[in-house]
């Protein structure tokens, strides 16, 4: 048997097993359907995230004036924006790091003052913080704040009292300014007068009508480059941050159960082939025993990869919209998990000397490992001691890798330990399991 034939035989064993897995309704359910149901169900239990692109904004009001208070109230009314107040800027930054809010905005001292001098000042200065990787959200935030600034500007036009104060203040500042030629002073003064007249005229027509975003956009074109709100955003790294939605927790859990399903299905299928006699036919074919086990391993690897890919692709779609922060880390995580759990499958097949043992003890051990490894309660909310204990479970490292691709933002260095464990499990598990495997009843 040459190499091509050997590969052909290995692949046909893998293909045959995938076909058997799909045809075994119970195994197919626990391998493919159950993990999906679990991911969706627990995703909602953990608070979902189905509000799609919703932004939670932290607000620090350092100005503490009526004007700034009004601004915060305005923000609270913006659709699709959740607002949480913080006492100080560092508290808000902390909240970003913990993943509690997506961004934070600081209204500096003198904020209200600068709003009421829109004509003479530089507009409001808002300092913001945002988590990295939230590019779309950053744009959204700047847009919302600018919109809000324009709305306030338009409020000035439509609210005579507010405009009057602003005009008065502008005239007062004009009077204090020494380095202006009388000619110029006259031009500005008459401009202010005409603004006042224009506003009184407009005021009569649509006094009750609230300024809309629409009018804000018109104002932009009328006012050129000038913006009433200047937002400067600074990134706050989300190291050790928590997941952004319930689905970022539940889909890794789904992956755990999917991996468990594959591992059990293939481990048991080897024991089954032995007890049902088909293994005998495989061993009397012109294959080495290595070929046969490799065929099983390839089948297990493919189905592990398949179940993970299905779950992760599903997670990306609405209404779950889980974000993969690092696609490369994600793909690497999936492949590493498949390698690791193929080794776990061989270990199971090697240790379970009978089909009954594989079905009974094997299943029980795998379920316990899956439970402590993050399959039932997310690891990051477990007590430290349990988190440490769960290190014995290969599922824990798989969870870590998958979460690394989703929200832990793993880089190469972060992947070394869990990835190394997966490769070790894959190679070591295969070697040990194969050596211990019994070929006859």
């Amino acid at each position: 048997m040459n190499l091509t034939q050997a590969i052909g035989a290995i692949l046909s064993i893998a293909l045959k097993d995938l076909r058997l897995l799909v045809r075994d309704k119970a195994a197919a359910f626990f391998t493919f359907i159950f993990p999906m149901l679990l991911a969706v169900f627990f995703g909602f239990v953990f608070g979902g995230g189905g509000d799609g692109g919703n932004l939670t904004l932290g607000i620090v009001d350092e100005d503490r004036t009526q004007g700034s208070g009004q601004f915060v109230q305005d923000l609270e009314k913006v659709a699709g924006l959740g607002v949480r107040r913080f006492e100080a800027a560092d508290q808000a930054q902390q909240a970003i790091r913990r993943g509690e809010v997506d961004a934070a905005v600081v209204l500096p001292r003198g904020f209200a003052d600068s709003t009421s001098s829109v004509f003479s000042g530089q507009g409001m200065e808002i300092k913001g913080y945002i988590a990295p990787g939230a590019g779309a959200q950053a744009g959204l935030l700047t847009g919302k704040l600018t919109e809000l600034g324009f709305r306030r500007l338009m409020d000035s036009f439509t609210s005579p009292r507010l405009l009057q104060t602003q005009l008065d203040r502008a005239r007062q500042q004009l009077g204090q300014q020494q380095d202006i030629t009388p000619q110029r002073r006259g031009v500005i003064s008459s401009f202010l007068d005409s603004v006042q007249a224009f506003s009184e005229d407009m005021d009569e027509r649509d006094r009750a009508e609230e300024a809309s975003t629409d009018s804000g956009e018109k104002a932009t074109s009328a006012l050129g480059d000038w913006t009433p709100v200047r937002v400067t955003l600074e990134e706050v790294s989300r190291q050790g941050a928590g997941p952004r939605s319930g689905f970022e927790v539940s889909f890794p859990q789904g992956v755990v159960w999917g991996l468990m399903g594959c591992t059990l299905a293939f481990g048991i299928s080897l024991a089954e082939e032995r007890s049902r006699g088909t293994l005998l036919r495989l061993t009397t074919a012109p294959l080495t025993r290595g070929h046969i086990l490799l065929g099983k391993a390839v089948g297990c690897f493919v189905s592990c990869t398949l179940v993970q890919a299905i779950l992760i692709v599903m997670a990306l779609l609405p209404p779950f919209r889980v974000q993969v922060t690092s696609p490369v880390a994600m793909v690497a995580a999936v492949l590493l998990c498949s390698v690791g759990f193929t080794g776990v499958m061989m270990l199971l097949a090697g240790f379970a000397k009978t089909e009954t043992a594989a079905q009974g003890v094997g299943r029980a051990v795998m379920i316990v490992l899956a439970l402590v490894g993050g399959g039932s309660v997310p690891l990051f909310i477990l007590p430290k001691i349990v988190q440490t204990l769960s290190g014995v479970s290969p599922f824990r490292w798989a969870t870590l890798l998958i979460e690394g691709g989703l929200w832990r933002q793993f880089e190469l260095a972060d992947m070394l330990l869990p990835g190394g464990i997966m490769i070790g499990l894959g190679v070591g598990g295969f070697a040990l399991g194969a050596a211990m495997f019994r070929w006859q009843e």
Binding site: M1, G8, S12, R19, L20, R276, L282, A285, P286
Partner: protein
Amino acid sequence: MIVLRDLRKSFGPVVAVSGLSLRVEPGEVFGLLGPNGAGKTTTLSMLVGLITPDAGTAEIEGLGSCSRPLVRASLGVAPQALALYDQLSARENLHFFGRLYGLTGTRLRQRVETVLGLVGLSDRGGDRAGTYSGGMKRRLNLAAALVHDPPVLLLDEPTAGVDPQSRASIIDLVRALRAEGRTIIYTTHYMEEAQKVCDRVGIIDRGALLDVGRVDELIARHGGSSVVAVKRGDVEELIETHDPTRTVADVLRASPDVESIRIERPDLETVFLSMTGRRLRD
């Protein structure tokens, strides 16, 4: 063709095969006849390299031991325990087993259809093996041994647990395979089958080969005399003889009041009984 030399195998205290030597000639059907537990399956397992013998060798002449994968390519094995995937159709089963032997494409498809036809399952080929009757599974089990067209066949109790019809068709098939010139080892505990299909038979009991020869040779050596049973009224007289025809003629000439007369010729059952003191099937 197939040579077994002083094969020995024990499982703990149980001696399954104790010093078995055997030579099977090319193109013959060799029967291994013995009761359950005689060591037939263990012998075949050592031949195909599934079990490592404690001592002795088993090989295909000119090719070597079957522990080498390449040598196994020329073997077709129908295990005693049905070895089929219940969730796959007969066609899918055969297709898969054919792939393991390196068959692909049109040749594979042709072989699958050919062997399905040989075992009379063409019209049920698309059904899952799990839905088959015992007889049909047995026939599919045999088909799986034939799909790669091997010159040597090892059939371990190919008629175990089947209905009389399937049994007859399996026996016909084995005869047809023999006519094609294949070398076949056929194990059974049914002496009728051994008598019907085998060129030579080896009597095996408790792991040892007691004697080997053509059926008539074995009977002549160990069968003893025939018995002529003569019934007169309520009395039946049993006469042992080496020439039953002559004895019948003598009896009829001597006494005309015979009600019935019956000849019991020795068969392999008698051979086994005389060699072991036990019957083949208990």
